[in-house]
Each structure stands twice: as C-alpha cells, then as structure tokens.
Symmetry: none
C-alpha cells in the first residue's frame, strides 16, 4: 500500500494488523466526524495504535484517507448482465452506492481538492482509486465489442480518447449528482442517465 519496497531484512517487522486497524479506524472516523474534524491522533487511538506508528506509514491525513477510501472501491465489479445497457446501469449503481456511504463522501472530494496542488497525491489517487474504476470501463467496452454491441476500434488513440470521455461522463455525472446536487443516484436516475449516454454513443451522428 504505502511501502513499495521492503528494503530491510533486520529488525522487528511492521505489524500488518496495524495497517488494517488504522484504515478501518480511519473509515470509522470519517463516518462519525467527517473529513475536517478527523484527526490523526483520534484515528490512532481508535486503532489502538500510537500516533508515531501511523506517521511511520503515512505522510499525512491526505495519504491516509486516500488509502482508506480506496479500499471501498475494491468491491466494484462488473458481472455480465447480458447487455451493455445493463452493464452500465449495474456499475453506475454500484458506484453510486459507494458514494452514498459517508466514509466516501467525506473524504473523496477533500483529497481530490488537495490533489490539485500535490502531484504525488494526484498520482496516488489515480493509482489507488481512479484506475480501479477505469478498468471497469475498459472491461465493459471489451465485453460489448464481443457481444457486437460496439464496433471494434480501429484507431488506438481515438479509442483512448473515447474511453476517457466516457469515464469522465459516467464518474462525473454520478459524483456531481451525489455530492454537489445532493440527490440520490437511484435506479430511476441511473436509467435515464444510461439511456442518454448510450444513445449518444451509439446513435448515428447527425453532424452537419
């Protein structure tokens, strides 16, 4: 998670249990207190761990919360629901369900806000959170192409741009609906959204 290279052989090894306890405590604190009132001292106490142990593993509040929130997105999956529309609706609903949880709501936007000034943090978010979501988009597209619902992309670069666009549209719409408009991304909304998106992607462009 945070230690890329073990590097050392000697000495007492770091407690793996501590990592899990800290991340769980972080999520719990996010639920109860929200981002701005969450303190690392409190997280350490909840985890039954010393503050120093926490600082040995994470550089600060932002990094810690990225890792704690990232674990929430582990549950995102893309079971085959039979059609592209159903697949999209399914994954959007899953995504909305995660964003409906207070531990995600409180922390996610805060770390994104900070990432506009901290490239390392942005990279960490990309690797831990965004890529997890992006993978589903790629998977869904491949599956739809297998089914023949989408034509195979001849142009590699154009394909990447399209995937980016779709990803920003999907994730952006759900995030905005949930966190800015403050309304639930429920089944009805998801169905409307999916219809517009899919139609926009598959209908023949009536360009002049």
């Amino acid at each position: 998670m945070q230690s890329r290279t073990p590097a050392t052989r000697t000495g007492r090894p770091r407690s793996a249990a501590a990592d899990a306890a800290i991340l769980a405590a972080t999520r719990q604190a996010l639920v109860e207190l929200g981002w701005s009132r969450l303190t690392l001292g409190d997280v350490a106490t909840r985890a039954g761990v010393a503050k120093t142990t926490l600082y040995r593993r994470w550089a600060g509040k932002h990094e810690l919360v990225v890792d704690a929130v990232a674990e929430l997105f582990d549950e995102l999956e893309l079971p085959d629901r039979g059609s592209l529309a159903a697949d999209i609706e399914g994954v959007v609903l899953q995504f909305a369900a995660i964003l409906a949880r207070p531990e995600a709501r409180s922390g996610l936007m805060a770390v994104v806000a900070e990432s506009t000034r901290d490239d390392a943090l942005r990279e960490r978010i990309r690797a831990s959170i965004v890529d997890r979501q992006m993978r589903l988009v790629l998977e869904g597209r491949a599956r739809a192409q297998c089914r023949g619902e989408l034509p195979p992309e001849p142009d590699q670069a154009e394909a990447a741009r399209t995937v980016d666009l779709i990803f920003d549209m999907v994730a952006g719409a759900v995030v905005h609906r949930t966190l800015v408009s403050g309304k639930p991304a429920d089944e009805e909304w998801v169905r409307s959204f999916t219809r517009v998106l899919l139609l926009g992607l598959t209908a023949a462009p009536a360009e002049p």
Copy 2:
C-alpha cells in the same frame, strides 16, 4: 453578501472596500497557497485588515472561500451562438476556463467536500455557485425551444428531472475531466462531449 439585514442605523458603517479586499486576498491566497495552506490570518494580512474584521463578516474558512470562488462564476454568460450545440460548447468552454484557474481548483472541491457534512454550507454553495450555473442550462433550453431545436416540455416534473440530469452530466463531466483526470477540457474534448450529449438527448425516444 452575508448581511441580510443591516438592522442598525447608528455607529460606523462597515467598510465595503474591506469586503472586496478580503475576497480578492482570499483568491490570491488560494492561487499561491491552495486550500489547505490558506489561513484566515494570512488573508487578513493580505487584505490589510484585522482578523476581527474578517470574522465579523464570515463564520469561517469555508464560507469565505465559497464567496470568493462564487465571484468567479459571475462571468458565466450565454450569448446566442446560433444553435444549441454552439451554445452548449460555448458555455462548457467558459466553465472549463474557470475551473482551469487555480483559485477555483483549489477551493471548489474543498468546500464541496465539507458541504457533505454541513447543510448550511451546501445551501450556500447552491445559492452562490450552483444556481448561477443551473440558470444557464434553463436559459439554453428555453432558447433552443424558441429555435425549435427542442420540443416544449408538457410535463413540468419530467422537465425538471431532465434539466437536473443534463446539469449533472455537463458540470460533472467538466469537473471530473479537469480536477480528477487532470486533463484540460479543451475545444476538442468539448466538441466530442457536446456531440455525445446532444445526440443522447435529441435522439432519445420517449421510452416508458
């Protein structure tokens, strides 16, 4: 801005110049320091104002930044560009230009993050920022209906839902593109986005 009712007659009136100076100083500090390193003491110093004066007008960092950022959205306009597509492209580009400015990037997501736990703040954001944007969507739709590009909406509630959906899709996509993906919402991207959105909306059958 923040004082609904002056209520008093006597005494020295509040300096209007101080308000402007404080908001300008806030934006300057956002540019230089970002949200997390911005302090109210520093803002007061930059504005040539005592901390007390600042606290007399705003309850805290979040409220202050909402107002400071909100002013950036005053410049959003919807000149008639001749077609719905052109109108959308125009306003999305304007929106993207604002989000590209560091004083907006740094602060916007932070207050949105906090608003997930603070209803008064959410309401303030809605009134100061979101409504300014939503108005353009309504205006654009009305203009498109005048032009005959869109059919008049018979169902009031359905119309409101559609406007909400469009708004979340537009704002969400631009925000996600700019702040999460970290890529510019340039003309090419905006054209692609607009094509998909418009196609999805206009080709949409009134499916049950």
Copy 3:
C-alpha cells in the same frame, strides 16, 4: 522579568496575573514533580493558562524555572545583627532555608547544569539569582567596614577578587552541603562555617 521593553502600545495587553500564576504553578510543580518530571503543559494547566501563553513569555523550561526560582531569593535580606559574624550567620541561614525548599533544590542545579552550555541562560541566572546574593555580600562588607570590623580596601581590583572569593566560598559551601552532601545547613553547621571563614579572612596577612 522577561520582557525588557514593552515596545508596543496597541493590541490587547498581556495579563500580569498570568505571569504570577505561571510562576507560582511552576514552583508548585517543582515541589510535586521535581525538575525532570515537570512539563510545560502541566504548568500551563495548573496556572489555568494556555500553553501558548506560556511560550509567548518564556523560551523554554530552563528560562521559566530560572524566573520561578529567582523569586524565592527576593526574600533574602540583611538586617543589621550587630556584628559581621552575626550578619554572616544570618544571611547564610536564610540562604540555607531557601535551598532547603524543594522548589529550589529541584530546579536550581538543573538550570546551572544547562547554563554550562548556554551563555544566555548563564547571564539570565547571573542577573536574576546570583546578583541578588552578591549584593548582600557587598552590603555586609560595607557595613563591617563602617563598624571598623574590616579595613577599607585601597585596591579596587583586589577588593573585587576578595568579594568574589568570599561569595564563592559562602554560596558554594551552603549549596554543596545542602544539595551534594545532602545534609542540613543548620545553625550548628553555620556557626562552624562562619567561624572558619571569618578567621580565615580577618587573620589573613596581606601576603604577596
């Protein structure tokens, strides 16, 4: 005490009561905890004062304790007891009484220890504590010369050296007896000490 020049006119003035409360709390903590277990946070709490207030006035534990202990020496006086021997015995007993108090014992040697590496601290100790004691030696000598018990000193430099010597002998003996040997400098000991000292001084021929 610590602020030589008030320097400013504007702003909220510092609380004089806080100073007194902090120094009293420091002495109380010295009594209960001793030097090494005394913490500034605890002192602040005892004084009913924020830690920051304490740090605004003193640079650290050493400086604070110097001032707190120095006040103990304010009570040193030299009433005329009729003879040089009686004067010396009186002041040595006073000095011993102060060193017998736990708030002095705990702190005094600690700051002296630190002063061997910190010239500013040494100077502060000299000004706050040592000079208070030295003044008594000078006063006692002057009074003895008035009485005719001691001859007037013709050589200025020699006189200074003698005063320094006497001071180191008096203060050193009492401190060593009390803090190193750990035995009380009671009346009997003081009488013996005074006899030796006085005999050594008055019988001393002006040997080259």
Copy 4:
C-alpha cells in the same frame, strides 16, 4: 567495539569492551551535545552498540552519566607535596581541572539536580564520585597530622563534622567558582582560597 581477536571464550568477552565503549561514547556526547541534548540512542550508535545492550546495563540517562563522569575522578591523586598548604593547592587544582572539562561540567550538575529527588541516584553519586573526593580529604588530614601540622583529633564525632565542613567548603567553592560564577579556578584563585581556608582552620579562635 568489535574484538578483532576472536578469543573464543564462549562467555562474554565483549561485555567489558562494550561497557568501556559506552562510557567513552557518553563522555564524547557530553562534550559535543551537553547533558540536555544527549540521547541514549545516540550514545548507543556512537558506541557501536544496540540500545538494548545499553539498557541492560544502566537504568537510564542519569545512571549512565554518573558512571561516565565518575571515571573522570579516578585521576584524582594526592602526591605528597611537602606541606598541607601545598597538598590542598594541588588537589584543588586537580579538581578544578576536571571541572573545567566539558564532559564533567555538562553532566555533573544535572545528575546532582536529579539526585535531590532520587535517593538511589544520590547514593550512586556518593559512592562513585563524592567518596572518591572525600577520601583525599581524609588522606590529606592524616598526612598533615603525621607531619604535625594538625593536632590529632580526640573526639571522633567532632572530627567527622570538621572533615565534612572542610569537604563542603573545598568542593563547594571550586564548583561554585567554576560552574556558577563561570570563572576559572586558576592558580591565583586557588592560592587565595587555600590561604583563607587554612588560616581559618589553624588560627586560634578569637572567640569572645
């Protein structure tokens, strides 16, 4: 402190070397950092020893420093210089030379300070440091009595009191001169001091 020669004794041949290395490292750290900045982790590193090893042998910083400083006083000797005055001058100069060394200055007063609250520490200091010095006083008195410079003491208790007094006067004066007044106990000062002391002890008491 690795022993190059294996010396395949399956006992602990390193133990003695480690002790010496740790004490030497302690003194070196005292010189470079002084008491308050000396840390046991640093001492262990300097000695090429694990912190664990250090804690197995000493209970803490105070105990360690007592032992490290005590070794400095091993060099105190009392060669026969022919007269009581010369003997005193000699030993006082030796004592002053030790107190002039930074490893003694920094540590000695600190442990004395702590010993005012810690009886075990006081006892350790007495046994390791004070008795070493006291022995010289006893030795000097015995030698002076052999020479006939001092009369034999008939009263045992009175004799002990006198020795204590002399010891406190000698050690106290040198310590105070060196560490509090911050001036060197050089030959001139020592000669003056010895003259006063000796005259005070040997002259006939002119008591009324």
